[in-house]
Structure formats: structure tokens, C-alpha cells
Amino acid sequence: GTSQSTGETAGEQGAKDPNKKDFTYAMSGVYKPFNFKENGELMGFDVEIGQALAEKMGMNPVPITNPFETIIQGLQAKKYDTVIGSLTITPEREKAVAFSNVYYRSGAQIFVAAGNDSIKSADDLKGKRIGVQKSSSYEQQALKLTDKSNITTYDSDVTALMDLPTGRLDAVITDQMVGFRYMKEVPDKIKDVGEPLSHDNQGIALRKDDKELLEKVNKALDEIIKDGTYQKISEKWFGRNILGSE
């Protein structure tokens, strides 16, 4: 690893062991409940998965936030060594980075304002204004449903969801877990519509030439799934296991 984390980019996660190498992993930090900040502390599913992996590999976990739209660029620029940031594995991205084994599976879901009764399924989205996280896989999905000029991109899926009740958007496509969490915390603002558009595999991204670390990560991932650590983390954040299967 070459990142010289200064601690500016991530909340200090406990005391560091100076004898261990750093395991730096990036996320947007604006993707509740997968990764987000509360009172300055970075937390969420992705953060804890990273911690568990680091422990298995005998390394120091160093979570880092980076805007989602440049998260792959940051990886390539060696600002950090991995992305554990709910990156959907897509053929496009596989050209740029290497992915670990799937670390969770989830669905892309359409959300609309609570009072909106005109949109009932993906077929109703033609010509409608859709909001998505900039450069996410959902942006690609939205492009298939409406034309480019009707798509608004945001820094955070959460910001997009919050722009639904304003009437600026007709729909938002994002991870179902992200939307459900919002619905739970802020009732009666938005609702989900129809079946998930897709079931996506999420992976941990690494630089392509970083084969050694990829192997270690895959091995550690296997281990935490087998020894129940994964199960515990998933239960904590979602009340169920989101690893799923193909």
C-alpha cells in the first residue's frame, strides 16, 4: 500500500498498531446504511466488513471517504488500495479494476414521492425525470428507461431521494436498502414502486495489478462468511443476511 493516510480522510478507528500494514478502503460516506457518517464517525455495513477483513488479514483497517463519481479514479491513482463502497460489478467497471468475489447482493429499486400514483412500474418511466447517483450503475439503468436529458445526477443517492418530495424528480433508482432506510427514518415522504429492476452483485474493487492483495481479500472474505462474522454484521444493519446467492 502506498497511501499515507493522515487521518484527515477518515475518522480514527481506534488506536493503530504500528507493526501492521494499513488496509485502506474507500467509500462515498453518503450511502446510508452501507456507509455514512454520524457525528463525524464513519460507520455502516461496508465499514464493518472492511474491519473484519483487515482483522483476518492481520492489517490495520483504514476506511477512507471519496466522492463516488471519482472513487475508481482514486483507486487507480493509489489514493487507497481497495473500494469497499457498494460497487456493483459491471462489465464496464471490470475493464478498469479487478473485483473480489461478491460480498453482497441487492436489488435496484424505483422510488417515487409518496403521493405519486401515476408511476406503477418501470414501464411508466418513459419521458419521466429520474434522479441517480452520479456515475453509478443506476445511472446506466436509468438511461435505458428515459432519455439522457431527463436524468439528474447527484453526489449521493440520499440527496436524490430527498429531491423526490420537492417535485423536481419523478423517480429515483437506487439500492433498495438505501431507500428503505430513508422510508423508515423519514416516513410518508417516498415509497417504493414495483419489483426490483435487477439483482446486482456487489464487489470489492482493487487495482488490476494488485493480485496479491486480491487473493488475500478473497480468502479473508471466505473466512468471515464461514465463521459467522459476516452474518453478525449483516444482521446488525439489515436484520438479515444480504449475501444471498446466485
Binding site: E69, T70, I72, Q73, Q76, E92, K95, A96, G131, K134, S135, K148, S149, T152, T153, Y154, D155, M162, D163, T166, G167, R168
Partner: protein, 229 residues
């Protein structure tokens, strides 16, 4: 870099027009806001002066990106706007504070004898303002206004963060899909640079044209580049 410049120019040209439209509209509105606030500041009403003062202090005391986000979400609580108009209003309100100070400065730089002469001829305050003071003040405002317009053009890039696909928004999206951010950003920078240079040229021409009408005021007369200090 050159391949991006060549291959994706239709997209960037379209984004350039959006940037220009956004800039133009927000600056026109900004001039309206600026003029109003400038009048508030030089009015005799303490209340209006205070409004203007607070407005200018708050706008000049906070980052534009914060203003854009606040206005984008704040305006919506009152009236629903498309992201184009929300962005345009945010930029107008921002630029308005700076333009207000430019107008105030240029109005106050007009010799007070002008207002007195107008009044002594029986002109009312609004008439004297309109016919005598403002035409002179506007001319004086052109250089700083041109400068503010350039700043406004560059600052319009920040509405990319409320979802506008103008130049910078397009650049961000493009870089995220071609994974060649450095080259892409350089191309976007080049587009802005060309716009700014063109605009600078136009403003300079305008200034010169306006100056030839009246007698030219010569500056101190050294060539600054060859000065020996």
C-alpha cells in the same frame, strides 16, 4: 487528451451552450438583483440599508457551493423549480451581491456635482438617476462587471453538483465512464479557458469603444512590463 477533444466535441459543445445559457440568465438576473440592492445601500432608509448590508455580508461570507445547495433545497420549500432554474436563481442571488457592490461603487464614483446640477434644473431624484447618474455609472461599471461576468462563468461549474449537465457536469460524467479523468478534466478546462479568453477580448473591445467616444484618460504612462523595480 487530443482524442477526447476530437471525439467528444459534440457533447461538450452542447454542454458549453448550456453553460453559456445558464451563465447569461443568472448574470442578467444578478444585474437586476444587484441594482436593487445597490439602491437599497445608498437609500436614506435605515431598514433598506440594513437589508442590503446583511444580504451582501451573508453572500460574501459563505462559500458559493453552500449557497447553491441551500438555495437549491431552500427555494423548493417555497416554489418548485427545475434544476436549471434553481441553479440559475442560486447563481443570480450569489452574483447579485457582488454586482451590487460594483454598482454602488460606480454610482458613488460619479461626482456629486452631477446630481446637484440635475436637481438645480428641476429634475426629480428618480429622473436624475435615470437620465444623468446611471448612464455614467453603467459605463464606469463595465470593467469590473466584465470581470464579475468571467467569475460568474467559471462559478457556474458548481451547479454540476445539483445535477446540471453543463460543462463541468458533463466532464465529471465522461471521466467516470472513460476512466481517464485527468485528460477529460483538462479538456473541460480548455473549454472554459477559451470561453474566458473570448469574453475577455469582447469586454476589452467594448471598453475601448466606449472610451474613444469621450476623451481618453491616459494612465501614468510607463509601460508596466518594462518597469525596472
Amino acid at each position: 487528451m487530443f482524442d477526447i477533444l476530437l471525439s467528444s466535441y459534440p457533447m461538450f459543445l452542447e454542454a458549453t451552450f448550456l453553460t453559456l445559457r445558464l451563465t447569461a440568465i443568472s448574470l442578467i438576473m444578478g444585474c437586476g438583483v444587484g441594482l436593487l440592492i445597490a439602491f437599497f445601500r445608498i437609500s436614506h432608509s435605515k431598514a433598506l440599508q440594513t437589508i442590503a448590508h446583511v444580504y451582501i455580508t451573508v453572500i460574501r461570507g459563505t462559500p458559493l457551493i453552500v449557497q447553491i445547495m441551500v438555495l437549491y433545497f431552500g427555494i423548493t420549500e417555497i416554489v418548485t423549480l427545475s434544476s436549471f432554474w434553481a441553479g440559475a436563481f442560486a447563481l443570480a442571488i450569489h452574483n447579485g451581491a457582488y454586482i451590487a457592490e460594483i454598482f454602488r461603487g460606480s454610482i458613488q464614483s460619479i461626482d456629486r456635482g452631477q446630481m446637484e446640477a440635475a436637481k438645480s434644473l428641476g429634475m426629480s431624484y428618480p429622473l436624475a438617476m435615470r437620465r444623468i447618474i446611471l448612464p455614467q455609472a453603467f459605463k464606469r461599471a463595465i470593467p469590473p462587471l466584465g470581470n464579475q461576468f468571467i467569475i460568474g462563468l467559471k462559478d457556474s461549474s458548481l451547479v454540476a453538483y445539483v445535477g446540471m449537465q453543463e460543462l463541468w457536469g458533463t466532464g465529471l460524467g465522461e471521466a467516470a465512464s472513460n476512466y481517464r479523468q485527468l485528460d477529460t478534466y483538462l479538456v473541460v478546462g480548455l473549454y472554459y479557458l477559451v470561453l474566458v479568453l473570448i469574453f475577455t477580448y469582447v469586454v476589452n473591445r467594448l471598453e475601448n469603444r466606449l472610451n474613444t467616444g469621450a476623451a481618453k484618460k491616459k494612465s501614468k504612462g510607463y509601460d508596466s512590463a518594462s518597469q525596472s523595480v
